[in-house]
C-alpha cells in the first residue's frame, strides 16, 4: 500500500474536519472525492505533515506522517489548490529553487527545471515573470514544481480549479500521462467528478470528515448498486411505490425511460416480481453503466 491511515482525527476548533479516517490507497491514480468541506484538503495537509492529527496513525510510502515528515516530503510532490508563486521570479528560477530545496544540487535542479517546464508546456514562457502568467499557466507551473524533484507520489489538490475547458483537458491529459508511469502514483483531490472518472482507477469518497466509500472504481460501481434502464406499459404507480419500498431509487426521463438504482439486496427477479404484482408489462430492461455522479450522489446522500 502507498498510503495507509488508521483512525486519523483532526479538528479546527469545534469543527471536526477528519473523524476517524481509515483508508488504504494502492498504486496508480486514486481520486479523493467529496463535497466542499468534506475534509479532502485537510486530509492532504495531514498526509504532508502540515497538520498534526489529534489521533490515529498513518504511513505514506512507508514514512510515518507524524515522525518522518522530512523523509515523506522527499518522496511527495504537492500541487496546492490556491494560486502559489513568488513574485519577481521567472519559471525556471522558481522551479529550480524548489528542486534545490528538495535536496537537488543547484546545477541539476536548473537542468531538471527546464525539462519539467517543457513537459508541462511552459517551455516557451519559462523566462517570463510569474506575475504575468495566466491562470492556466500558473496551474501548470504548480505541477512543474511538484514534479521537479521526481517524486514517487503526487498529491494534486483540485488540479483543474479555475481552468477553462481547454486548459482543464490539457491538465487532465498531463495527469493521465504521469499516471501511465507505473512507478509514479497520484492522489487527486477534487469535487469535479468527471476529472476523477477520467484519470483515476481507484477512489476514496469523503463525507463530513469520514470515509464514505473506498476501493477500485469499477468494483465500487458494482458493489454499491446496479443501474437498470426500463420501459413499462400499464399503470406504474404501485410498481414504482413497490420498488421504492425495497430501497430502490427511481428516476424518470421525459421520454418515459425509468432509471432504477437497485440496492445490493434487490435482484432483477424482484423487479419482475413487483411488476407482475402491480400488473405492468416490462417492455425494455437493460443493465446500464453507473456514472461516478450516481455513485457519488448515493454515497454522500445527495440528489
Amino acid at each position: 500500500m502507498n498510503i495507509e491511515l488508521r483512525d486519523v482525527r483532526f479538528s479546527y476548533g469545534p469543527i471536526r474536519a477528519l473523524d476517524g479516517v481509515t483508508l488504504q490507497i494502492g498504486e496508480g491514480a486514486c481520486g479523493l472525492l467529496g463535497p466542499n468541506g468534506a475534509g479532502k484538503s485537510t486530509l492532504l495537509k495531514v498526509l504532508l505533515g502540515f497538520l498534526r492529527p489529534e489521533a490515529g496513525e498513518g504511513l505514506v510510502l512507508g514514512h510515518d506522517i507524524r515522525k518522518d515528515s522530512f523523509g515523506l516530503r522527499r518522496v511527495v510532490g504537492y500541487m496546492p489548490e490556491d494560486d502559489c508563486f513568488i513574485p519577481g521570479l521567472d519559471a525556471v528560477s522558481f522551479t529550480a529553487n524548489f528542486g534545490e530545496l528538495s535536496g537537488m544540487p543547484r546545477a541539476e535542479a536548473m537542468k531538471r527545471a527546464h525539462d519539467v517546464l517543457y513537459y508541462v508546456g511552459l517551455g516557451e514562457s519559462r523566462y517570463r515573470l510569474l506575475e504575468t502568467y495566466s491562470a492556466g499557466m500558473k496551474q501548470r507551473l504548480k505541477l512543474a514544481q511538484a514534479l521537479v524533484h521526481d517524486p514517487k507520489i503526487l498529491f494534486l489538490d483540485e488540479p483543474t480549479a479555475n481552468l477553462d475547458p481547454q486548459g482543464r483537458s490539457e491538465i487532465l491529459e498531463l495527469i493521465s500521462d504521469i499516471t501511465s508511469k507505473k512507478d509514479l502514483h497520484v492522489l487527486i483531490s477534487s469535487h469535479i467528478l468527471t476529472d476523477i472518472e477520467q484519470t483515476c482507477s481507484a477512489l476514496v469518497i469523503l463525507n463530513k470528515g469520514r470515509v464514505a466509500a473506498q476501493g477500485d472504481l469499477a468494483s465500487l460501481r458494482e458493489v454499491r448498486f446496479s443501474l437498470y434502464e426500463m420501459k413499462v406499459k400499464g399503470e406504474k404507480g404501485s410498481f414504482l411505490e413497490g420498488l421504492r419500498r425495497g430501497g430502490c431509487r427511481i428516476e424518470e426521463t421525459e421520454d418515459g425511460l425509468l432509471k432504477a438504482y437497485l440496492p445490493e439486496e434487490m435482484s432483477r427477479r424482484d423487479v419482475f416480481r413487483l411488476a407482475a404484482a402491480a400488473g405492468v408489462q416490462v417492455r425494455h430492461f437493460v443493465k446500464s453503466r453507473t456514472s461516478l455522479e450516481d455513485l457519488f450522489a448515493r454515497t454522500v446522500g445527495v440528489d
Binding site: 504532508l48 504537492y78 512507478d183
Partner: protein, 290 residues
C-alpha cells in the same frame, strides 16, 4: 505554447541530498530578488557613502600636516579612537539607510509569500520553520553586514596601513571584537524587526509603512516626552536612540544619553525575542484557524 506531453514524463537519474542546508537556498533567492528591485542598487551604494567619508577621515588623520589649512581646527574630530567609530556606527544617517534597505529589500520577504500563498510550496519540501526564517533573515543580514562589519574591517585595515603601526590595536584591543559583536547585533535586530513586520500582513506596502512608522513614531514619542519632562530615560522608548545607546556600549564609547547602555541592549534583545515568537506562530505550511 507548444503541445503538452510531447516528450512524455521522464525520471531524474540523481539522488536527493540529505545534508544540504535549505536556508542557504532561501537566502540566496531573497538576496537575488532584492538586488533585482528597481531602486535597491542605488540605495545600497548610497548607503556606503558614510563608510567612504570615514575612510577618508582615517587617511586625513594620518596626514594632518598636509590638510591643516583645510581643517581649520576641526582636527579634534579626527582622533581615531572608539568615539570616532561610534560616530560612524551610531549615526542617524547610517540607521536611516539601514532602515531604507530593509524597506526596499525586506518588507515583502514574508508579506509576498503570504499574499501569493507560497508557504505551502516551501513547507511541502524537507524544510524546517527555522530554515525558512533563518534564510530570509540571512538575506537581510547579508546586506546589513556589508554596511557594518565590512566597513569596520576596512577602517581597521586602513588605519594599520596609513599609520604603519598596530598602535590602534594595542590601545584598544577589543575594537575588532566590538565591531563584530555590534555588527552582528544590529544586523540581527534590523533583520528580525523587518521580518516581524513583514509577517503581520499580506501586503508589501503595508509592511513598509509599519517599518517606517515604528521607527520614526517611537522617536517622535521620545522627542515629545523629553521636551516635556527633560528625562533622558525616555530615550528607551525610541528605537533610534536605543540603537545609538547600544552602539556606544558595544564600542566602549560614551553613550549619547545619560542612561546605562545595557538597558537599550536589553530592550532591543526583547524586541528580537518577541519577533522570533511571533514569526514562529505566523510561519506555517498551512493557515490554521481555530
Amino acid at each position: 505554447m507548444e503541445p503538452i506531453a510531447e516528450r512524455g514524463y521522464t525520471h531524474w537519474e540523481g539522488t536527493l541530498g540529505t545534508g544540504r542546508r535549505p536556508w542557504r537556498v532561501i537566502a540566496g533567492q531573497a538576496v537575488r530578488l532584492a538586488w533585482k528591485r528597481r531602486f535597491f542598487k542605488p540605495l545600497f551604494f548610497f548607503s556606503l557613502l558614510p563608510a567612504v567619508v570615514f575612510s577618508g577621515g582615517i587617511y586625513i588623520s594620518e596626514r594632518l600636516g598636509d590638510f591643516q589649512e583645510m581643517l581649520k581646527g576641526a582636527d579634534k574630530f579626527l582622533t581615531i579612537n572608539p568615539d570616532y567609530f561610534q560616530a560612524y556606527y551610531g549615526s542617524s544617517f547610517l540607521f536611516f539607510m539601514m532602515l531604507m534597505i530593509m524597506v526596499g529589500g525586506g518588507a515583502g520577504l514574508i508579506a509576498d509569500d503570504l499574499r501569493h500563498n507560497a508557504l505551502p510550496l516551501y513547507f511541502s519540501r524537507p524544510l524546517r520553520q527555522r530554515d525558512y526564517i533563518g534564510g530570509k533573515g540571512a538575506a537581510l543580514a547579508f546586506f546589513l553586514l556589508l554596511l557594518t562589519l565590512a566597513p569596520g574591517i576596512v577602517f581597521l585595515l586602513l588605519k594599520l596601513i596609513f599609520s604603519g603601526s598596530a598602535k590602534i590595536l594595542s590601545d584598544f584591543p577589543w575594537l575588532p571584537f566590538s565591531f563584530l559583536a555590534w555588527s552582528v547585533f544590529v544586523s540581527a535586530f534590523f533583520s528580525l524587526f523587518t521580518l516581524l513586520l513583514s509577517s503581520l500582513g499580506r501586503n508589501r506596502r503595508f509592511a513598509s509603512i509599519l517599518i517606517l512608522a515604528a521607527y520614526f513614531l517611537s522617536d517622535v514619542f521620545f522627542g515629545i516626552f523629553y521636551a516635556i519632562f527633560r528625562e533622558p530615560a525616555f530615550c528607551l522608548v525610541s528605537l533610534q536612540r536605543n540603537l545609538r545607546q547600544a552602539s556606544a556600549s558595544f564600542l566602549g564609547a560614551k553613550p549619547p544619553m545619560e542612561v546605562p547602555g545595557i538597558y537599550s541592549i536589553l530592550i532591543l534583545a526583547a524586541i528580537m525575542a518577541a519577533a522570533v515568537l511571533v514569526l514562529r506562530r505566523k510561519i506555517r505550511g498551512t493557515e490554521v484557524i481555530r
